[in-house]
Every structure is written in structure tokens, then in C-alpha cells.
Subunit: 203 residues, 3 copies
């Protein structure tokens, strides 16, 4: 169950990475590399930090196939995907919401306390996008104006609470991902943002 | 004892990261993310490389509370902190001096040879600042003109020597951190720098 | 045997990192830091992901000596190395070819399946250059126009196949490194590149 969600998160992040690469534009292999790094980067970071070594993605060929297929799809059909900038943000939000759940649940399984598990969920959710943006020379999405880290942390916290309450897997995933992705998309659409430092509002 | 020093290093680096974020300016959550990444990044790198997995910071809530509090303080009171650029360098130098000691001592505890332990101390001391500067789009402090890597390596080497000589914890910390932070601050104040490549002096 | 190849890869990558640093120009310690990070970064990434913790480089002083010596040589004799930009690419291609073999072979030894071992070879081969370019503020070489990731993956795949066929170590190294480095250098010389996304050719 969590593997399917994890693969969906990989696909969503890989699409976001591939679209960033298409827009630069990079060539076919640049697109595939950025799709793979974005799709698997957050999970690698999560696995190394909680101690799942080698990372699950290295022992399951589906984790390698998904970002390659996503990269090829984005390479071929990027025009059909419409306004690219918005699509990147939507796929990124979907990947973020799915990964904050899988990161938090895996951390709980490895015996981390609840607060740390929520943090690991946030790190997993943020990691892929940070790697994508560093490689592509963009300001990391998590440091930009609209809310990003807060929805990721909230989704991970909701997932931790749902696990502790004994909800079943589907409910855990639905609650956590809905909170994180929904909040992020609302923040994007309504241009919500957190307060600036006092005295810096004039920028 | 070393946990207290480690937490002080986390606080110093978190303040440096938060002040970089305030100066861009990022919003409240951007400040907290950059403070946390800067404060915990070097220690995560150290723990993963020496084999302390999951990292100590994930199993102790104080490691998560310290950067958040430091980020909130910097966010609210950044104007009272005066000339921000200089403050960043001072907090950064303090974090660097504390982390070069904890990195070297932990590496010795995990059985690494002396030279590697000194290198791990340097990596720990440099890591947080590199992560901060990469995320913020600045040239990493370790590659800039005044001395940085050399004081970090020297402080780590002094700490390794002090442990091998059987000095007590307080002496190890005092010697290593004083050498690293003191040398770094002197290099900043007097604008000491290492030689440039031959033929490149004209830049 | 593989240690010797690994050290040669460290030396080649360290030279490429040192020459990037000389060209900015950074000072002596900046050159040494960038040489060490470039030389050891890919191997650290490989070791952490396959579970060789602490990384081999931390338990063998030669891994620390090689990049320092390479950095000093590049610092002192960079003018004798001629047209620097081309030299960087040649050393980078050599390091890439050697690391894609050692990464793939180590991953096989740690029990990873063939496809994952080839991927790990590619990650090892790409990692050092990505770290170098991120630290130096350059576009990562793997995302630039000429082929890079594909030769690295091909060399790693050839090495995996050679191991599975039971060839001896020297043949494994020769086949893998020749394919990767040779293809990369040909791509550079003849300006081969992969196709751009459809509709983006006009850039």
C-alpha cells in the first residue's frame, strides 16, 4: 500500500523535475537525470537518515522505471501539458503531499519518536524539490513566498497522529496527503504567505 | 557535556542561517527552514558518515527545539542584532568552532583513525554553512577569501590531540573551539587570506 | 586492484575540482577544499547509499592524501597544464569513467541487483562533478549539452555485465572505463548531443 503511494509520489516529483528540465531546455538525458534525481532524491534522503540502507528504491526496479517513464512522457508531451509553470507546481504539490506521509510512516516504523517522524516526513517531502531546484539553478521552492514547509509539516503531523490513533493505511494516507497538498494548492491559488520579518515588509 | 556543546553549535549556526534568511528577506517559515537546515545539516552529515543512524538529532527533541527558537528570535529581534552581515559571520564562526570539536570527538568514538577524525571534524564544521549558502544562493563561506577550512581543520586536529593526550572533556572543547573560532575571527578582522594561485594574483 | 582504480578516479576528479577552483580564482585552501570535495564526494555518496559506513575513504589515509596532493599540483602548476577549460573536461571524463566502474562493482558486492548496480555506478560517476559544480556555482556538467549521464550509465552497465560474465578485474575496469570515458570524450570533441524536447529546438 505505502509502496504504491510512494511510487505515485516519485511519479509526481519526477514529472515536476522533467518539466523544469524541459523548460530550460535540457536535452533528453538531462531531462531524465533531473526527473530521476527529483523523483528519488527525497526518498534516498529519508532512507539514509532513518537507516534503511540501501534505500528501498535501489532494490525495486519499479522505483527506477517510474521516473524514467515520467521523464519520457514529459519530454514528448510537454506541450499537451499546457501552461508548464502551473503544472510543475501542481505535480510538485502532489509529490510533496504523498511523500510527507510515507516519510512520516517509515520513520515511525523505524522507531523514531512522533516529533522526529513528522520532521522526517517534512524532510522527505521537501528533499526532492530542493535537489531539483539546486541542480536547475532555481531558488528552492521551500524558500519562496507561498507556504510550503508548513503544509508539509502539517500533513506529516496529521499522518503521525492518524497512525497513533490506529486508523488504517488508506485513512492515514488520505488525511495526510489531503492536508498537505490541499493547503499548498490553496496557498498557491490565493497567494497566501507567511509574515515577513518586522521592518522588511517594504521589499 | 558534548551534547550541550553540540546544542550550542546548533544554536549558533541556526542564528547564522536565520539572519541570512531575514536579510533576503524570506518569510517566517523560510527563516525557520533555513535556520533548521543550517543548524542540523552539519551534524546530520557527520552522523551519517560515521554511522550514527538515525542521527542523534532525530531522537532528541532538544535538537529540534533549538533551531526553531533561534529562528524565532532572529526573526523577531534581527534589528536589535545590529549590523547583520558581521553578526552572521560571528555566529557562523562560533558554530564552526563548536562543531569541529564534536565532529572530531564523535568520529574518534566510532573508531576512526586520528587523521580521519580531524577531517570529519572539519566536514561537520563546514557542512552547515555550505548547506545554508547553497540554499540561499550565496557563494559557500568556505570558498571565500578569508581563512575558513584551515581554522576548522586546526581546531579539529587540536581536539583529536587533546583527546589522545587524555585531557578532560572541558579542556578538549576549550582548546579546539578556541583555536578554530579565534583563528577564524582574527582572519576576518585582519583580512588574512591564503595565497592565490601563481599568476592569478592580478584579479 | 579496485582501490588503485578508485584512487586514480579520486585523483582525476580532484584535479578537475582544483582547476575549477584555480580558475575562479580561489585561494590555496579553497583549492584544496574543492579538490577534496570533488575527489571524495562521489565515493562518499556511493558508500552511504550501499551501506559501507563509515566510507572507505575515512579509514584509509591514501584517500585523504591523494586529493591534497592533486590540489597542490594543480595550484602550483596550473599554467603548465595549458588550456584549463579543456583539461578540466579531460580529467572529469577520466574520473567519471573510473568511478562508474568502482560504483557498480561495489554495489554488486553489497548484493544490489544488476540494474541498481548500474545506477549506483552512474550516481558515483556523476556525484563528484555535481558537488564540484554546485559549490563553484556552475551549471552541473551532467545537465549541460554534450552527453554525460548516458556514457556513465553505459560504462556502469558494461562493468556489471563484465562481472556477471566472470571476466577478471582488469577486464572489467578496462571495458567499463573505456566505454564511459571514450564516449564522453568523443561527445565533447564532436559536440554530440541528445535531442532537445520537441518544439524547443529553436533555442
Amino acid at each position: 500500500m505505502y509502496v504504491a503511494v510512494d511510487l505515485a509520489g516519485v511519479a509526481a516529483f519526477a514529472l515536476s523535475g522533467a518539466l523544469v528540465a524541459v523548460r530550460k531546455p535540457l536535452d533528453l538525458f538531462g531531462v531524465l537525470v533531473l526527473a530521476t534525481a527529483t523523483g528519488l532524491g527525497g526518498g534516498f534522503l529519508r532512507d539514509v537518515l532513518v537507516g534503511q540502507i540501501p534505500p528501498a528504491a535501489l532494490e525495486d526496479w519499479r522505483y527506477l522505471a517510474v521516473p524514467v517513464v515520467a521523464g519520457l512522457v514529459a519530454f514528448r508531451f510537454h506541450r499537451g501539458l499546457g501552461r508548464i509553470e502551473r503544472e510543475i507546481a501542481v505535480f510538485d504539490a502532489a509529490g510533496m503531499g504523498l511523500f510527507c506521509v510515507t516519510g512520516a510512516v517509515l520513520a515511525l516504523e523505524f522507531g523514531l519518536p512522533a516529533v522526529s517522524a513528522a520532521l522526517m516526513g517534512m524532510v522527505t517531502a521537501i528533499g526532492g524539490g530542493v535537489i531539483r531546484d539546486l541542480l536547475a539553478g532555481r531558488v528552492p521552492v521551500v524558500l519562496r513566498e507561498q507556504l510550503y514547509a508548513l503544509p508539509a509539516l502539517a500533513g506529516a503531523g496529521v499522518a503521525v497522529a492518524a497512525v497513533r490513533l490506529g486508523l488504517d493505511d488508506l485513512a492515514v494516507i488520505a488525511c495526510g496527503a489531503t492536508v498537505a497538498t490541499g493547503w499548498r494548492l490553496l496557498a498557491l491559488r490565493r497567494d497566501w504567505h507567511a509574515p515577513l520579518p518586522p521592518g522588511m515588509d517594504g521589499y
